[in-house]
Amino acid sequence: MDATAALTTPSATGAASADAVANPKIVAKNVNVHYGEKHALKDVSVDIAERAVTAFIGPSGCGKSTFLRCINRMNDTISICRVTGRITIDEQDIYDPSLDVVQLRARVGMVFQKPNPFPKSIYENVAYGPRIHGFARSKAELDEIVEDSLRKASLWNEVKDRLDDSGTGLSGGQQQRLCIARAIAVSPEIILMDEPCSALDPIATAKIEELIDELRQNFTIVIVTHSMQQAARVSQRTAFFHLGVLVEGGPTERIFTSPNDRRTQDYITGRFG
């Protein structure tokens, strides 16, 4: 499929020069994923820009979440899943056998579809990552990391008086921001978000989107979303997946105003999906 290369190869439309990513943080080349017999992702190649928000859109089952989970090797936990191809972060192959997946995941944080705080206190939720990676040498240092992460996730003011309460007692939106704080606490370079607002109401969603926009200054963010409006609001670049194929990618504005591919056009105008 020619269109899979849309992000890297100049295409015939002339919009190509604007499509190329100057200094990509993540580079994927010919990534294929099989779940047992099922060929879930076909020859996906994409560049993802540093300190920007890249959105993956597409109908359900199109492979966008699967691809997202390749970037921090979460698919390793599924025994029947097989990944081929090459994904590099800062030009380092993340499927290199000598690479420690634990260190990779410390660099690539993840926020999931459904808020999944641990059944521990708010403080312990955020302190979890720094503790297992041994970031903090003292209690004071850990306190600082926790406060800093909660502030960055704009949750600090809401929870500073009840850090010892259970994280599961927060509202859905607060739980999701707690999960973002938890991911930030290990100071990753990349944050992957798998439909982070799909379980939230519009107000909580607006808060998270605002937060994503702020986080872009410090982190490279990849977000999977079902909502095209959300992709348009928060992302600088967008990639459209369909049936396991990366159909088209490029600056969000161009994808939404003058898509190259017929399928992209049909999807963003709501003709299917």
Binding site: A106, N116, P117, F118, R182, A183, V186
Partner: protein, 462 residues
């Protein structure tokens, strides 16, 4: 005769069902026709309704009849005996009735007095009359119920709602049986316990250190005074339970962790059923194993090390009991660990935690309440277990916490106190009920706590 009556009930039920359903089908056919009334319930509900209306009075009559009819027949038989044979006390009465029933059933009673035959004849007569009366009354009631129900049937009749109400009552009755049985057991044990405490002070029972359960037959016999201080039994039970949990706790929990988190589906598919087979081994077989294999092994090993080990040591019983309850701990813990949502694992792995960090810091804390309740259920199993300790633990109520000595447990003593010919009003036998009550109360509290913890745990992820 009761059998014939039950067959009659079934036949009446089937007949009434078919009739009712036929009427229902007729309504349905009429309802489809233009201008016909639409039917509320399906034809089969009409059938069930009529069947219930016919059978229920029959069943009720049988239940009321059963306790009274035989007594009535008996009275008739006894009153037709010649004057000199009429019994004057309970013992005579039951002897006489035995003779009458044997004769009535065509048996031989060689040394029966001549007049008894008259009683037997009366017995046969009245028994026949009673049976026929039951059948006729039952049939009449069924007919009344049937007529009443069929007259109610109409297209608008809400047969479904009525039948569902009947089903609800039947279900309620079934669960009431279980609950009432439990209550009955509690009270029967409680009353005997109170009788025991009227003979023996309860504080001496609960806090006494001397256990030698015996009651004197003569005032001057040797060892006439028994003492029922149950502390040695509680101590022995606790000791064996602790040994068992020391074995079953870690092994059960670790095997559960392995099964749930590490084992490949193939290994899990084989190992889990095999482990659960352990739960199916009859405890008496574990008892052999404890008494014949483990106890001598421990004694020989102890002797080699220069230790003094009793041949029926608490250690042997406790170890085998521990092996017995491993499946309880592992199977329940495994379920609980599997119930921890995958999203928590993902969350932890996504932070870069290793498998063992995830298990230690996320999964086990999340599953802890469930694991605790699994342990509690295992403890109540261990405390209530009888066969292994009967065979492998001792009988002497030693107050000791040395696992190499023989101790005895509450269950062993209950069994020992009640086995054999005993009168049921001596302090000796009644003390068994007091022990049983303590045991019941203890396991009840444990189960209650375990259930509460599990409930709390369930709320966590909703």
């Amino acid at each position: 005769m009761t059998l014939i009556y039950i067959v009659a009930m079934v036949l009446v039920g089937v007949g009434a069902y078919l009739t009712g359903r036929q009427k229902g089908v007729a309504f349905a056919v009429a309802g489809v026709a233009p201008g016909g009334a639409r039917m509320h319930s399906l034809p089969s509900y009409h059938g069930f309704y009529v069947a219930v209306a016919a059978v229920a009075p029959m069943l009720l009559l049988l239940l009321l009849w059963q306790p009274f009819a035989p007594r009535f027949v008996e009275m008739q038989a006894l009153s037709s005996l010649p004057q000199h044979l009429v019994p004057t006390d309970e013992l005579q009465r039951s002897t006489r009735m035995r003779e009458i029933v044997t004769l009535a059933n065509g048996g031989q009673v060689p040394d029966a007095p001549a007049g008894v035959q008259a009683g037997a004849d009366a017995f046969v007569l009245w028994r026949g009359l009673a049976d026929w009366a039951l059948l006729i009354f039952g049939g009449a009631l069924a007919l009344v119920g049937f007529g009443w129900a069929t007259r109610q049937l109409s297209p608008e009749f809400r047969a479904r709602n009525r039948v569902e109400r009947v089903v609800k009552v039947v279900l309620l009755a079934c669960s009431a049986v279980a609950v009432l049985t439990t209550v009955g057991i509690v009270f029967s044990v409680l009353f005997e316990t109170l009788r025991f405490f009227s003979k023996y002070p309860w504080y001496d029972f609960l806090f006494g250190l001397q256990w030698s359960p015996q009651t004197a037959i003569r005032a001057d016999q040797v060892g006439a005074s028994g003492s029922f201080g149950a502390v040695p039994l509680f101590a022995g039970t606790t000791l064996i339970m602790l040994i068992a949990m020391t074995v079953a706790g870690p092994i059960g929990l670790f095997s559960a962790i392995y099964m749930a988190e590490y084992a490949s589906p193939r290994v899990r598919g084989i190992a889990k059923p095999v482990l659960e087979v352990l739960a199916g081994v009859p405890t008496v077989v574990f008892g052999f194993f404890a008494a014949l294999t483990v106890a001598p092994f421990i004694r020989n090993t102890g002797e080699m090390l220069g230790l003094n080990v009793a041949s029926e040591s608490a250690l042997a019983a406790g170890l085998v009991m521990g092996v017995m309850i491993i499946p309880f701990v592992s199977s329940l813990s495994d379920d609980v660990i599997n119930a921890v949502p995958q999203s928590l694992r993902d969350g932890s792995y996504g932070m870069g935690a290793t498998k063992s960090e995830t298990i230690k810091k996320v999964i086990l804390p999340a599953a802890l309440p469930g694991i605790v309740s699994a342990f509690m259920l295992a403890i109540s199993r261990a405390v209530g277990e009888t066969m292994i300790v009967v065979m492998a633990a001792g009988l002497a109520g030693n107050l000791t916490f040395n696992p190499l000595e023989a101790v005895t447990t509450v269950t062993v003593q209950i069994k020992t106190l009640l086995v054999g010919d005993q009168e049921f009003d001596s302090a000796k036998t009644l003390s068994a009920f007091a022990l049983g009550f303590v045991l019941f109360f203890f396991t009840l509290v444990l189960n209650f706590i375990a259930l509460r913890i599990v409930q709390k745990y369930r709320e966590q992820y909703d």
